[in-house]
């Protein structure tokens, strides 16, 4: 399936606006100039190609030659990989990678390290004061969401350990692992001693 050209253009515009908020991201784009990365969304049967340049990324629906690297996965897997905050995740996130793996990591790094100044981006669009207000509100909402997610994660873990007893404490696991290791070592020593006695 191909995206309509206007939609492809709109997608490119959106991505470039996101990248343009961080001059370092554009430098990383420029460093990748001349390379190409094809993305195949298997669940939508949709493919497009990213071509980096100094001002961002160009999106095309096909290239005359094969792209330097081609990634295939479902859309949620791509989203998770790009915004996971860990460039090494590109290798282990269930993506099928054909071609230059280092280049795929370079692209992932470009997206993951974008440090967008939201207020700077909003200011020419809505004015200085609304931009500051919106920026603070979004930062507050983001911090709240992070705290809420962290609290939910801790509470869920505590419930599974203390109430339902489906999970055990990390210390209990460590003690059990140590006990297994000690038992294995003791068995090995006993085995060695038995062999020595049999040989006498």
């Amino acid at each position: 399936m191909k995206l309509p050209s206007a939609l492809l253009g709109a997608l490119e515009i959106g991505i470039n606006q996101y990248l343009s908020g961080d001059s370092e991201a554009l430098k990383r784009c420029a460093a990748l100039q001349g390379r190409s990365l094809a993305v195949h969304l298997t669940d939508l049967d949709l493919e497009f190609v990213f071509l980096p340049h100094a001002n961002g990324l160009q999106l095309v629906d096909q290239l005359s030659d094969a792209a330097d690297v081609r990634l295939s996965a479902k859309l949620p897997v791509f989203a998770r990989t790009l915004f996971a905050g860990d460039e090494s995740s590109v290798l282990g996130a269930g993506l099928r990678i054909e071609g230059d793996v280092g280049l795929a990591q370079g692209f992932a790094r470009m997206f993951q390290h974008v440090d967008m100044d939201l207020e700077d981006w909003l200011e020419p669009r809505v004015g200085e004061m609304p931009a500051r207000f919106l920026g603070q509100a979004l930062r507050g909402a983001s911090a709240f969401a992070r705290r809420a997610a962290s609290t939910l994660s801790l509470d869920t873990a505590e419930y599974l350990r203390e109430e339902s007893r489906d999970l055990v404490h990390r210390e209990e696991v460590a003690d059990w692992t140590h006990a297994v290791d000690r038992l294995r070592a003791d068995a090995d020593r006993l085995d060695a001693r038995m062999r020595r006695l049999q040989n006498k």
Binding site: S5, G9, I13, Q33
Partner: protein, 253 residues
């Protein structure tokens, strides 16, 4: 659908064939006539959608602060004004047009909007640009290429003045891609537009020329091929409003 080759004596002026040297004067007369009502007619003819087409073009250019932009056939300066905002105080936008009436109106409109510090105006022919090689980061031409006599020459000049990495954007009427839209579009173009021109600008013929010149303009694929022939790389186009308008883009590498 295409121009005559450079060797031929005649060229299209709408559906009419005129001597090659005459087209500039005839097109000039059309724009001298419509300059006063140009913006109003654009809004009426496109129901205001031309603003979205121009916005899309400017966004697609990905022009950044400090860059240099040449706007050819800039008319009343819509693209130039938007570009001036993007390039900032350290950038430069050259608003140009071959027609003095249109350029004068564009310069006045930019001044009225307070866009003056980073904009220069130049009355120039797109087929022979008076700029050094690699002078600009971006060249745009909005609804102007179809009026150019020698389109391959204009495209070659656009490519010449672009620095490596620079891009050219051509916003122009094109061939509708949605089945059934062509018939509706033709009915509108040849019946409504000239009457609208008669009522608003008291000039029916100029708006008939507009409709005819759109039909004679190269379609999407032909124009993309022409850009590649002119030396542009990574050429592509984006159909807007069902292909009534297309934005072509090519890079200088």
């Amino acid at each position: 659908m295409t121009d005559q080759t450079s060797q031929d004596d005649s060229i299209d002026f709408g559906y009419e064939q005129v001597p090659r040297g005459e087209k500039v004067a005839r097109v000039g007369a059309v724009f001298d006539s419509v300059a006063g009502q140009y913006d109003l007619m654009n809004d009426l003819m496109s129901f205001g959608v031309h603003r979205l087409w121009k916005h899309f073009t400017v966004q697609l250019s990905a022009v950044r602060k400090g860059e240099r932009v040449l706007d050819l056939a800039g008319g009343t300066g819509d693209l130039a004004a938007a570009m001036a905002k993007r390039v900032g105080a350290n950038g430069l936008v050259v608003l140009s047009d071959i027609n003095g009436s249109m350029l004068s109106r564009g310069r006045d409109r930019l001044a009225d909007r307070g866009v003056v510090n980073n904009v220069a105006c130049a009355q120039i022919n797109a087929e022979a640009l008076p700029f050094a090689d690699a002078s600009f980061d971006c060249v745009t031409i909005g609804f102007g290429l179809r009026n150019v006599t020698d389109k391959p020459a204009a495209l070659a000049e656009m490519h010449r003045v672009l620095a490596p990495g620079g891009r050219a954007l051509i916003l122009e009427f094109s061939k509708p891609q949605i089945p059934g839209l062509s018939r509706l579009y033709d009915a509108y173009s040849f019946n409504v537009l000239p009457r609208l021109g008669k009522i608003v600008a008291d000039d029916e013929d100029s708006y008939r020329y507009l409709a005819e010149s759109i039909r004679m303009h190269p379609d999407q694929d032909t124009l993309r091929d022409m850009m590649e022939t002119a030396g542009f790389a990574r050429c592509g186009y984006y159909n807007l409003t069902g292909g009534i308008v297309a934005v072509h883009r090519g890079f200088s590498v």
